[in-house]
Symmetry: C2
Subunit: 267 residues, 2 copies
Amino acid sequence: MPEHITSRQNPRVKEAVKLKQRRQRERQGRFFIDGVREIDRALNAGLGIVEAFVCESLCSAEEAQAVAKRLEKQAKEFLTVTPDVFEKLCFGERTDGVLAVAATPHHTLDDIELPERPLVAVLEGLEKPGNIGAALRSADGAGLDAVIVANPGTDLFNPNTVRASLGTVFGGNIAAATSEETIEWLRGIELPTYAARPEANHRYDGVIYNQGAALVLGSEAHGLSDVWYGAGVTAIGLPMHGIADSLNVSATAAVLFYEARRQWDAE
Amino acid sequence: MPEHITSRQNPRVKEAVKLKQRRQRERQGRFFIDGVREIDRALNAGLGIVEAFVCESLCSAEEAQAVAKRLEKQAKEFLTVTPDVFEKLCFGERTDGVLAVAATPHHTLDDIELPERPLVAVLEGLEKPGNIGAALRSADGAGLDAVIVANPGTDLFNPNTVRASLGTVFGGNIAAATSEETIEWLRGIELPTYAARPEANHRYDGVIYNQGAALVLGSEAHGLSDVWYGAGVTAIGLPMHGIADSLNVSATAAVLFYEARRQWDAE
Protein backbone atom coordinates (compact mmCIF):
# COMPACT_ATOMS: atom_id res chain seq x y z
CA MET A 1 0.00 0.00 0.00
CA PRO A 2 1.36 3.46 -0.85
CA GLU A 3 1.83 6.01 1.89
CA HIS A 4 -1.34 8.14 2.24
CA ILE A 5 -0.84 11.80 3.13
CA THR A 6 -3.68 13.59 4.87
CA SER A 7 -1.97 16.71 6.22
CA ARG A 8 -1.07 19.90 4.36
CA GLN A 9 1.80 20.21 6.86
CA ASN A 10 3.44 16.97 5.73
CA PRO A 11 7.14 17.71 5.07
CA ARG A 12 7.10 16.07 1.62
CA VAL A 13 4.17 18.25 0.63
CA LYS A 14 5.92 21.35 1.92
CA GLU A 15 9.10 20.53 -0.01
CA ALA A 16 7.14 19.89 -3.20
CA VAL A 17 5.18 23.14 -2.92
CA LYS A 18 8.46 25.05 -2.72
CA LEU A 19 9.22 23.93 -6.27
CA LYS A 20 7.00 26.73 -7.47
CA GLN A 21 10.04 28.95 -6.88
CA ARG A 22 12.93 28.94 -9.30
CA ARG A 23 15.52 29.12 -6.53
CA GLN A 24 14.08 26.01 -4.93
CA ARG A 25 13.98 24.13 -8.24
CA GLU A 26 17.64 24.91 -8.68
CA ARG A 27 18.53 24.04 -5.08
CA GLN A 28 16.59 20.76 -5.05
CA GLY A 29 17.49 19.81 -8.64
CA ARG A 30 13.88 18.82 -9.14
CA PHE A 31 10.77 20.30 -10.70
CA PHE A 32 7.06 19.84 -10.68
CA ILE A 33 4.87 18.42 -13.46
CA ASP A 34 1.11 18.70 -13.40
CA GLY A 35 -1.31 17.65 -16.09
CA VAL A 36 -1.93 14.17 -17.42
CA ARG A 37 -0.51 14.83 -20.86
CA GLU A 38 2.63 16.48 -19.53
CA ILE A 39 3.36 13.64 -17.09
CA ASP A 40 2.72 11.07 -19.79
CA ARG A 41 5.27 12.78 -22.03
CA ALA A 42 7.79 13.01 -19.19
CA LEU A 43 7.45 9.26 -18.64
CA ASN A 44 7.79 8.58 -22.36
CA ALA A 45 10.95 10.69 -22.42
CA GLY A 46 12.42 8.58 -19.64
CA LEU A 47 12.62 11.37 -17.07
CA GLY A 48 13.41 10.21 -13.57
CA ILE A 49 10.26 10.66 -11.50
CA VAL A 50 11.30 11.18 -7.91
CA GLU A 51 7.86 11.46 -6.35
CA ALA A 52 4.29 11.05 -7.51
CA PHE A 53 1.25 12.45 -5.72
CA VAL A 54 -2.10 10.97 -6.69
CA CYS A 55 -5.51 11.96 -5.35
CA GLU A 56 -7.72 9.03 -6.17
CA SER A 57 -11.05 10.83 -5.85
CA LEU A 58 -9.93 13.50 -8.34
CA CYS A 59 -8.32 11.01 -10.65
CA SER A 60 -11.43 9.66 -12.33
CA ALA A 61 -10.74 10.26 -16.03
CA GLU A 62 -9.44 7.22 -17.89
CA GLU A 63 -6.24 8.99 -19.01
CA ALA A 64 -5.53 10.15 -15.47
CA GLN A 65 -5.93 6.61 -14.13
CA ALA A 66 -3.61 5.25 -16.81
CA VAL A 67 -0.97 7.83 -15.90
CA ALA A 68 -1.43 7.10 -12.18
CA LYS A 69 -0.74 3.40 -12.91
CA ARG A 70 2.41 4.25 -14.85
CA LEU A 71 3.54 6.48 -12.00
CA GLU A 72 2.91 3.72 -9.46
CA LYS A 73 5.33 1.49 -11.37
CA GLN A 74 7.95 4.06 -12.32
CA ALA A 75 8.08 6.71 -9.60
CA LYS A 76 10.71 6.27 -6.92
CA GLU A 77 8.11 7.23 -4.29
CA PHE A 78 4.40 6.88 -4.96
CA LEU A 79 2.10 8.71 -2.56
CA THR A 80 -1.64 9.13 -2.34
CA VAL A 81 -3.11 12.32 -0.92
CA THR A 82 -6.46 13.75 0.16
CA PRO A 83 -8.23 16.33 -2.06
CA ASP A 84 -7.30 18.99 0.48
CA VAL A 85 -3.58 18.15 0.26
CA PHE A 86 -3.81 17.86 -3.52
CA GLU A 87 -5.28 21.33 -3.74
CA LYS A 88 -2.32 22.73 -1.86
CA LEU A 89 0.11 20.90 -4.15
CA CYS A 90 -1.42 22.00 -7.42
CA PHE A 91 -1.97 25.60 -6.33
CA GLY A 92 -5.68 25.16 -6.98
CA GLU A 93 -5.13 25.18 -10.72
CA ARG A 94 -5.40 21.65 -12.07
CA THR A 95 -7.79 18.91 -11.19
CA ASP A 96 -6.37 15.95 -13.10
CA GLY A 97 -5.55 14.29 -9.77
CA VAL A 98 -1.95 13.42 -10.65
CA LEU A 99 1.27 15.31 -9.96
CA ALA A 100 4.87 14.31 -10.41
CA VAL A 101 8.20 15.62 -9.19
CA ALA A 102 11.04 14.89 -11.62
CA ALA A 103 14.80 15.18 -11.47
CA THR A 104 15.81 18.19 -13.60
CA PRO A 105 17.54 17.03 -16.79
CA HIS A 106 20.69 18.89 -17.73
CA HIS A 107 21.42 18.64 -21.43
CA THR A 108 24.37 20.45 -22.89
CA LEU A 109 25.53 21.03 -26.45
CA ASP A 110 27.62 17.85 -26.21
CA ASP A 111 24.45 15.82 -25.78
CA ILE A 112 22.93 16.97 -29.06
CA GLU A 113 22.91 14.49 -31.90
CA LEU A 114 22.13 15.82 -35.35
CA PRO A 115 21.24 14.25 -38.70
CA GLU A 116 22.46 15.55 -42.05
CA ARG A 117 21.19 19.04 -42.98
CA PRO A 118 19.81 19.67 -39.52
CA LEU A 119 17.31 22.35 -38.57
CA VAL A 120 18.17 23.86 -35.19
CA ALA A 121 16.52 26.63 -33.19
CA VAL A 122 18.28 28.95 -30.77
CA LEU A 123 16.12 30.84 -28.28
CA GLU A 124 18.18 33.56 -26.64
CA GLY A 125 17.24 35.46 -23.50
CA LEU A 126 13.51 34.81 -23.63
CA GLU A 127 11.89 36.04 -20.44
CA LYS A 128 8.40 34.63 -20.52
CA PRO A 129 7.93 30.96 -19.71
CA GLY A 130 4.83 30.89 -21.93
CA ASN A 131 6.82 32.07 -24.95
CA ILE A 132 9.60 29.54 -24.41
CA GLY A 133 7.03 26.78 -23.99
CA ALA A 134 5.07 27.77 -27.10
CA ALA A 135 8.29 27.98 -29.14
CA LEU A 136 9.31 24.50 -27.96
CA ARG A 137 5.88 23.20 -28.95
CA SER A 138 6.24 24.75 -32.43
CA ALA A 139 9.77 23.36 -32.79
CA ASP A 140 8.41 19.92 -31.93
CA GLY A 141 5.58 20.32 -34.45
CA ALA A 142 7.90 21.47 -37.22
CA GLY A 143 10.21 18.56 -36.43
CA LEU A 144 13.30 20.63 -35.72
CA ASP A 145 16.29 18.48 -34.83
CA ALA A 146 17.38 20.43 -31.76
CA VAL A 147 16.58 23.51 -29.69
CA ILE A 148 19.22 25.41 -27.76
CA VAL A 149 17.98 27.65 -24.99
CA ALA A 150 20.64 30.32 -24.49
CA ASN A 151 20.81 32.64 -21.47
CA PRO A 152 17.12 32.29 -20.64
CA GLY A 153 15.48 34.77 -18.31
CA THR A 154 13.64 31.87 -16.69
CA ASP A 155 14.53 28.23 -16.05
CA LEU A 156 13.42 25.67 -18.59
CA PHE A 157 11.35 23.79 -16.05
CA ASN A 158 9.20 26.63 -14.85
CA PRO A 159 5.66 25.19 -14.52
CA ASN A 160 4.34 27.61 -17.14
CA THR A 161 7.04 26.60 -19.61
CA VAL A 162 6.24 22.94 -19.10
CA ARG A 163 2.54 23.63 -19.57
CA ALA A 164 2.87 25.92 -22.60
CA SER A 165 5.19 23.38 -24.18
CA LEU A 166 2.55 20.67 -23.59
CA GLY A 167 5.38 18.50 -22.35
CA THR A 168 7.45 18.85 -25.53
CA VAL A 169 10.16 20.30 -23.28
CA PHE A 170 10.86 16.65 -22.37
CA GLY A 171 11.21 15.56 -25.98
CA GLY A 172 14.99 15.36 -26.12
CA ASN A 173 17.65 17.33 -28.03
CA ILE A 174 16.89 20.43 -26.02
CA ALA A 175 20.05 21.88 -24.51
CA ALA A 176 20.97 24.86 -22.38
CA ALA A 177 24.10 26.88 -23.11
CA THR A 178 25.46 30.39 -23.10
CA SER A 179 25.16 32.44 -26.29
CA GLU A 180 28.95 32.36 -26.77
CA GLU A 181 29.08 28.57 -26.46
CA THR A 182 26.19 28.30 -28.88
CA ILE A 183 27.69 30.39 -31.65
CA GLU A 184 31.04 28.61 -31.31
CA TRP A 185 29.27 25.28 -31.57
CA LEU A 186 27.32 26.41 -34.65
CA ARG A 187 30.57 27.58 -36.26
CA GLY A 188 32.17 24.27 -35.40
CA ILE A 189 29.51 22.33 -37.28
CA GLU A 190 29.42 24.97 -40.04
CA LEU A 191 25.68 25.39 -39.87
CA PRO A 192 24.27 28.39 -41.81
CA THR A 193 22.92 30.71 -39.13
CA TYR A 194 19.95 33.05 -39.50
CA ALA A 195 19.05 35.55 -36.81
CA ALA A 196 15.56 37.06 -36.72
CA ARG A 197 15.79 40.82 -36.37
CA PRO A 198 13.20 43.53 -37.03
CA GLU A 199 15.65 45.61 -39.06
CA ALA A 200 16.87 42.72 -41.24
CA ASN A 201 17.41 43.21 -44.97
CA HIS A 202 16.58 39.64 -45.96
CA ARG A 203 13.03 38.37 -45.96
CA TYR A 204 12.75 35.12 -44.02
CA ASP A 205 11.28 33.42 -47.10
CA GLY A 206 14.03 34.62 -49.41
CA VAL A 207 16.81 32.46 -47.95
CA ILE A 208 17.43 28.73 -48.35
CA TYR A 209 17.05 26.49 -45.33
CA ASN A 210 17.12 23.07 -46.93
CA GLN A 211 20.85 22.55 -46.55
CA GLY A 212 20.39 22.81 -42.80
CA ALA A 213 20.02 25.98 -40.77
CA ALA A 214 20.13 27.47 -37.31
CA LEU A 215 17.25 29.87 -36.62
CA VAL A 216 18.02 32.33 -33.83
CA LEU A 217 15.34 34.26 -31.93
CA GLY A 218 15.86 36.83 -29.19
CA SER A 219 13.81 38.55 -26.54
CA GLU A 220 11.19 41.09 -27.63
CA ALA A 221 12.29 43.53 -24.99
CA HIS A 222 16.05 43.39 -25.48
CA GLY A 223 16.65 41.92 -28.94
CA LEU A 224 19.59 39.67 -29.68
CA SER A 225 22.94 39.99 -27.96
CA ASP A 226 26.05 41.19 -29.77
CA VAL A 227 27.40 37.74 -30.62
CA TRP A 228 24.69 37.40 -33.30
CA TYR A 229 25.87 40.52 -35.10
CA GLY A 230 29.19 39.00 -36.11
CA ALA A 231 30.45 37.28 -39.23
CA GLY A 232 28.60 34.25 -40.52
CA VAL A 233 25.20 35.28 -39.22
CA THR A 234 22.56 36.39 -41.72
CA ALA A 235 19.82 38.68 -40.40
CA ILE A 236 16.34 37.74 -41.57
CA GLY A 237 12.97 39.28 -40.89
CA LEU A 238 9.29 38.84 -41.48
CA PRO A 239 7.64 41.46 -43.68
CA MET A 240 5.50 43.66 -41.45
CA HIS A 241 2.55 45.03 -43.40
CA GLY A 242 0.63 46.70 -40.58
CA ILE A 243 1.13 49.07 -37.70
CA ALA A 244 3.13 46.78 -35.38
CA ASP A 245 6.85 46.37 -36.05
CA SER A 246 7.16 42.77 -34.88
CA LEU A 247 5.15 39.69 -33.93
CA ASN A 248 5.10 38.00 -30.57
CA VAL A 249 8.38 36.03 -30.41
CA SER A 250 6.60 32.67 -30.28
CA ALA A 251 4.61 33.63 -33.39
CA THR A 252 7.81 34.59 -35.21
CA ALA A 253 9.31 31.28 -34.11
CA ALA A 254 6.38 29.31 -35.52
CA VAL A 255 6.55 31.11 -38.88
CA LEU A 256 10.32 30.57 -39.23
CA PHE A 257 10.27 26.95 -38.09
CA TYR A 258 7.48 26.04 -40.50
CA GLU A 259 9.01 27.92 -43.43
CA ALA A 260 12.28 26.03 -42.86
CA ARG A 261 10.38 22.75 -42.67
CA ARG A 262 8.31 23.58 -45.76
CA GLN A 263 11.44 24.19 -47.82
CA TRP A 264 13.16 21.13 -46.39
CA ASP A 265 10.21 18.89 -47.20
CA ALA A 266 9.92 20.34 -50.72
CA GLU A 267 13.55 19.39 -51.46
CA MET B 1 -5.93 73.44 -15.53
CA PRO B 2 -7.13 69.85 -15.60
CA GLU B 3 -8.95 68.40 -12.61
CA HIS B 4 -6.44 66.76 -10.24
CA ILE B 5 -7.60 63.61 -8.42
CA THR B 6 -5.94 62.77 -5.12
CA SER B 7 -8.33 60.21 -3.63
CA ARG B 8 -8.63 56.53 -4.46
CA GLN B 9 -12.30 56.90 -3.51
CA ASN B 10 -13.00 59.40 -6.28
CA PRO B 11 -16.12 58.19 -8.16
CA ARG B 12 -14.45 58.50 -11.59
CA VAL B 13 -11.60 56.34 -10.38
CA LYS B 14 -13.99 53.77 -8.98
CA GLU B 15 -15.95 53.60 -12.24
CA ALA B 16 -12.76 53.22 -14.29
CA VAL B 17 -11.40 50.46 -12.05
CA LYS B 18 -14.59 48.49 -12.62
CA LEU B 19 -13.67 48.22 -16.30
CA LYS B 20 -11.41 45.34 -15.36
CA GLN B 21 -14.58 43.26 -15.40
CA ARG B 22 -16.13 42.19 -18.67
CA ARG B 23 -19.67 42.80 -17.40
CA GLN B 24 -18.79 46.37 -16.53
CA ARG B 25 -17.13 46.96 -19.90
CA GLU B 26 -20.32 45.81 -21.57
CA ARG B 27 -22.57 47.81 -19.26
CA GLN B 28 -20.56 51.03 -19.56
CA GLY B 29 -19.74 50.57 -23.27
CA ARG B 30 -16.20 51.60 -22.48
CA PHE B 31 -12.86 49.91 -21.93
CA PHE B 32 -9.48 50.63 -20.48
CA ILE B 33 -6.21 51.15 -22.35
CA ASP B 34 -2.86 51.17 -20.59
CA GLY B 35 0.56 51.39 -22.16
CA VAL B 36 1.97 54.23 -24.23
CA ARG B 37 2.11 52.29 -27.48
CA GLU B 38 -1.43 50.98 -27.15
CA ILE B 39 -2.88 54.44 -26.40
CA ASP B 40 -0.91 55.92 -29.28
CA ARG B 41 -2.41 53.36 -31.64
CA ALA B 42 -5.90 53.94 -30.27
CA LEU B 43 -5.51 57.66 -30.99
CA ASN B 44 -4.16 56.94 -34.47
CA ALA B 45 -7.16 54.71 -35.12
CA GLY B 46 -9.47 57.56 -34.18
CA LEU B 47 -11.02 55.84 -31.16
CA GLY B 48 -13.13 58.09 -28.99
CA ILE B 49 -11.20 58.66 -25.76
CA VAL B 50 -13.73 59.38 -23.04
CA GLU B 51 -11.32 59.92 -20.16
CA ALA B 52 -7.58 60.17 -19.74
CA PHE B 53 -5.74 59.74 -16.45
CA VAL B 54 -2.19 61.00 -16.33
CA CYS B 55 0.22 60.82 -13.41
CA GLU B 56 2.82 63.45 -14.15
CA SER B 57 5.52 62.14 -11.84
CA LEU B 58 5.35 58.68 -13.45
CA CYS B 59 5.10 60.06 -16.95
CA SER B 60 8.75 60.96 -17.49
CA ALA B 61 9.63 59.04 -20.64
CA GLU B 62 9.52 61.09 -23.81
CA GLU B 63 7.00 58.82 -25.50
CA ALA B 64 4.74 58.95 -22.44
CA GLN B 65 4.82 62.75 -22.41
CA ALA B 66 4.00 62.89 -26.10
CA VAL B 67 1.01 60.62 -25.58
CA ALA B 68 -0.08 62.64 -22.56
CA LYS B 69 -0.07 65.76 -24.74
CA ARG B 70 -2.14 64.05 -27.42
CA LEU B 71 -4.58 62.91 -24.74
CA GLU B 72 -4.87 66.42 -23.33
CA LYS B 73 -6.02 67.61 -26.76
CA GLN B 74 -8.19 64.70 -27.77
CA ALA B 75 -9.69 63.18 -24.62
CA LYS B 76 -13.18 64.33 -23.68
CA GLU B 77 -12.06 64.57 -20.05
CA PHE B 78 -8.41 64.98 -19.14
CA LEU B 79 -7.53 64.29 -15.51
CA THR B 80 -4.31 64.25 -13.57
CA VAL B 81 -3.88 61.89 -10.63
CA THR B 82 -1.44 61.19 -7.79
CA PRO B 83 0.87 58.14 -7.96
CA ASP B 84 -1.29 56.47 -5.33
CA VAL B 85 -4.45 56.89 -7.41
CA PHE B 86 -2.61 55.85 -10.55
CA GLU B 87 -1.49 52.65 -8.88
CA LYS B 88 -5.08 51.80 -8.10
CA LEU B 89 -6.13 52.50 -11.68
CA CYS B 90 -3.43 50.43 -13.35
CA PHE B 91 -3.70 47.50 -10.94
CA GLY B 92 -0.05 47.97 -10.06
CA GLU B 93 1.03 46.58 -13.42
CA ARG B 94 2.15 49.41 -15.66
CA THR B 95 4.15 52.46 -14.85
CA ASP B 96 3.94 54.43 -18.08
CA GLY B 97 1.95 57.09 -16.25
CA VAL B 98 -0.85 57.33 -18.84
CA LEU B 99 -4.19 55.56 -18.99
CA ALA B 100 -7.16 56.05 -21.27
CA VAL B 101 -10.78 55.00 -21.22
CA ALA B 102 -12.23 54.60 -24.70
CA ALA B 103 -15.72 54.09 -26.09
CA THR B 104 -15.97 50.47 -27.22
CA PRO B 105 -16.08 50.29 -31.02
CA HIS B 106 -18.67 47.95 -32.50
CA HIS B 107 -17.74 46.80 -35.97
CA THR B 108 -19.96 44.37 -37.81
CA LEU B 109 -19.54 42.45 -41.05
CA ASP B 110 -21.26 45.32 -42.87
CA ASP B 111 -18.41 47.63 -41.89
CA ILE B 112 -15.75 45.51 -43.57
CA GLU B 113 -14.31 46.81 -46.81
CA LEU B 114 -12.27 44.41 -48.88
CA PRO B 115 -9.90 44.75 -51.82
CA GLU B 116 -9.68 42.25 -54.70
CA ARG B 117 -8.45 38.75 -53.70
CA PRO B 118 -8.70 39.51 -49.98
CA LEU B 119 -7.08 37.57 -47.18
CA VAL B 120 -9.43 37.30 -44.21
CA ALA B 121 -9.00 35.56 -40.85
CA VAL B 122 -11.82 34.12 -38.76
CA LEU B 123 -11.09 33.43 -35.08
CA GLU B 124 -13.88 31.32 -33.63
CA GLY B 125 -14.52 30.73 -29.95
CA LEU B 126 -11.04 31.59 -28.70
CA GLU B 127 -11.05 31.70 -24.92
CA LYS B 128 -7.74 33.27 -24.00
CA PRO B 129 -7.36 37.03 -24.45
CA GLY B 130 -3.61 36.54 -24.99
CA ASN B 131 -4.24 34.21 -27.92
CA ILE B 132 -6.75 36.54 -29.57
CA GLY B 133 -4.39 39.46 -29.11
CA ALA B 134 -1.38 37.59 -30.50
CA ALA B 135 -3.43 36.42 -33.50
CA LEU B 136 -4.56 40.01 -34.19
CA ARG B 137 -0.94 41.14 -34.01
CA SER B 138 0.08 38.43 -36.50
CA ALA B 139 -2.84 39.31 -38.80
CA ASP B 140 -1.68 42.92 -38.74
CA GLY B 141 1.90 41.88 -39.47
CA ALA B 142 0.90 39.65 -42.37
CA GLY B 143 -1.28 42.42 -43.72
CA LEU B 144 -4.54 40.50 -43.72
CA ASP B 145 -7.43 42.58 -45.01
CA ALA B 146 -9.88 41.78 -42.22
CA VAL B 147 -10.29 39.70 -39.07
CA ILE B 148 -13.65 38.41 -37.91
CA VAL B 149 -13.89 37.40 -34.28
CA ALA B 150 -16.74 34.89 -34.04
CA ASN B 151 -18.35 33.78 -30.79
CA PRO B 152 -15.36 34.69 -28.65
CA GLY B 153 -15.08 33.35 -25.12
CA THR B 154 -13.88 36.79 -24.04
CA ASP B 155 -14.64 40.33 -25.19
CA LEU B 156 -12.35 41.90 -27.74
CA PHE B 157 -11.40 44.73 -25.40
CA ASN B 158 -10.23 42.69 -22.47
CA PRO B 159 -7.04 44.42 -21.20
CA ASN B 160 -4.96 41.34 -21.95
CA THR B 161 -6.24 41.19 -25.53
CA VAL B 162 -5.41 44.85 -26.06
CA ARG B 163 -1.94 44.32 -24.62
CA ALA B 164 -1.15 41.08 -26.48
CA SER B 165 -2.35 42.72 -29.69
CA LEU B 166 0.01 45.66 -29.02
CA GLY B 167 -2.88 47.89 -29.97
CA THR B 168 -3.43 46.26 -33.37
CA VAL B 169 -6.96 45.49 -32.14
CA PHE B 170 -7.66 49.16 -32.95
CA GLY B 171 -6.35 48.87 -36.50
CA GLY B 172 -9.69 48.68 -38.31
CA ASN B 173 -11.44 45.99 -40.34
CA ILE B 174 -11.87 43.86 -37.23
CA ALA B 175 -15.47 42.79 -36.80
CA ALA B 176 -17.45 40.68 -34.37
CA ALA B 177 -20.16 38.30 -35.59
CA THR B 178 -21.68 34.92 -34.92
CA SER B 179 -20.24 31.91 -36.72
CA GLU B 180 -23.44 31.51 -38.75
CA GLU B 181 -23.39 35.12 -39.89
CA THR B 182 -19.72 34.77 -40.77
CA ILE B 183 -20.05 31.70 -42.97
CA GLU B 184 -23.08 33.22 -44.73
CA TRP B 185 -21.10 36.37 -45.39
CA LEU B 186 -18.12 34.36 -46.73
CA ARG B 187 -20.47 32.44 -49.04
CA GLY B 188 -21.99 35.71 -50.18
CA ILE B 189 -18.62 37.06 -51.30
CA GLU B 190 -17.60 33.61 -52.63
CA LEU B 191 -14.34 33.59 -50.74
CA PRO B 192 -12.50 30.22 -50.71
CA THR B 193 -12.61 29.13 -47.07
CA TYR B 194 -9.98 27.05 -45.29
CA ALA B 195 -10.50 25.76 -41.77
CA ALA B 196 -7.51 24.67 -39.67
CA ARG B 197 -8.19 21.27 -38.14
CA PRO B 198 -5.79 18.74 -36.63
CA GLU B 199 -7.32 15.88 -38.62
CA ALA B 200 -7.25 17.68 -41.98
CA ASN B 201 -6.18 15.84 -45.14
CA HIS B 202 -4.72 18.88 -46.87
CA ARG B 203 -1.42 20.36 -45.81
CA TYR B 204 -1.70 24.10 -45.24
CA ASP B 205 1.06 24.70 -47.78
CA GLY B 206 -0.56 22.56 -50.45
CA VAL B 207 -3.49 24.84 -51.17
CA ILE B 208 -3.58 28.12 -53.09
CA TYR B 209 -4.33 31.32 -51.22
CA ASN B 210 -3.42 33.91 -53.80
CA GLN B 211 -6.91 34.24 -55.26
CA GLY B 212 -8.09 35.38 -51.83
CA ALA B 213 -8.90 33.18 -48.88
CA ALA B 214 -10.60 33.02 -45.51
CA LEU B 215 -8.49 31.27 -42.86
CA VAL B 216 -10.57 29.91 -40.00
CA LEU B 217 -9.12 29.00 -36.60
CA GLY B 218 -10.97 27.54 -33.62
CA SER B 219 -10.39 27.02 -29.94
CA GLU B 220 -7.77 24.51 -28.83
CA ALA B 221 -10.09 23.06 -26.22
CA HIS B 222 -13.26 22.73 -28.29
CA GLY B 223 -12.21 22.83 -31.93
CA LEU B 224 -14.37 24.42 -34.60
CA SER B 225 -18.15 24.45 -34.49
CA ASP B 226 -20.29 22.44 -36.88
CA VAL B 227 -20.83 25.23 -39.38
CA TRP B 228 -17.23 24.83 -40.57
CA TYR B 229 -17.78 21.17 -41.47
CA GLY B 230 -20.23 21.97 -44.25
CA ALA B 231 -19.91 22.34 -48.01
CA GLY B 232 -17.44 24.85 -49.37
CA VAL B 233 -15.00 24.64 -46.48
CA THR B 234 -11.65 22.93 -47.05
CA ALA B 235 -9.93 21.50 -43.99
CA ILE B 236 -6.22 22.25 -43.82
CA GLY B 237 -3.60 21.33 -41.26
CA LEU B 238 0.02 21.82 -40.34
CA PRO B 239 2.22 18.74 -40.54
CA MET B 240 3.02 17.65 -36.98
CA HIS B 241 6.41 15.95 -36.86
CA GLY B 242 6.82 15.56 -33.12
CA ILE B 243 4.95 14.33 -30.08
CA ALA B 244 2.34 17.11 -29.81
CA ASP B 245 -0.68 16.95 -32.08
CA SER B 246 -1.16 20.69 -32.52
CA LEU B 247 0.47 24.06 -31.98
CA ASN B 248 -0.80 26.83 -29.77
CA VAL B 249 -3.64 28.47 -31.73
CA SER B 250 -1.82 31.78 -32.06
CA ALA B 251 1.23 29.95 -33.46
CA THR B 252 -0.98 28.15 -36.00
CA ALA B 253 -2.51 31.49 -36.89
CA ALA B 254 0.89 33.07 -37.52
CA VAL B 255 2.01 30.19 -39.75
CA LEU B 256 -1.19 30.26 -41.83
CA PHE B 257 -1.33 34.04 -42.16
CA TYR B 258 2.29 34.26 -43.28
CA GLU B 259 2.00 31.35 -45.72
CA ALA B 260 -1.02 33.03 -47.31
CA ARG B 261 0.88 36.31 -47.52
CA ARG B 262 3.99 34.58 -48.90
CA GLN B 263 1.98 33.03 -51.73
CA TRP B 264 0.09 36.24 -52.36
CA ASP B 265 3.30 38.30 -52.57
CA ALA B 266 4.91 35.72 -54.87
CA GLU B 267 2.03 36.03 -57.34
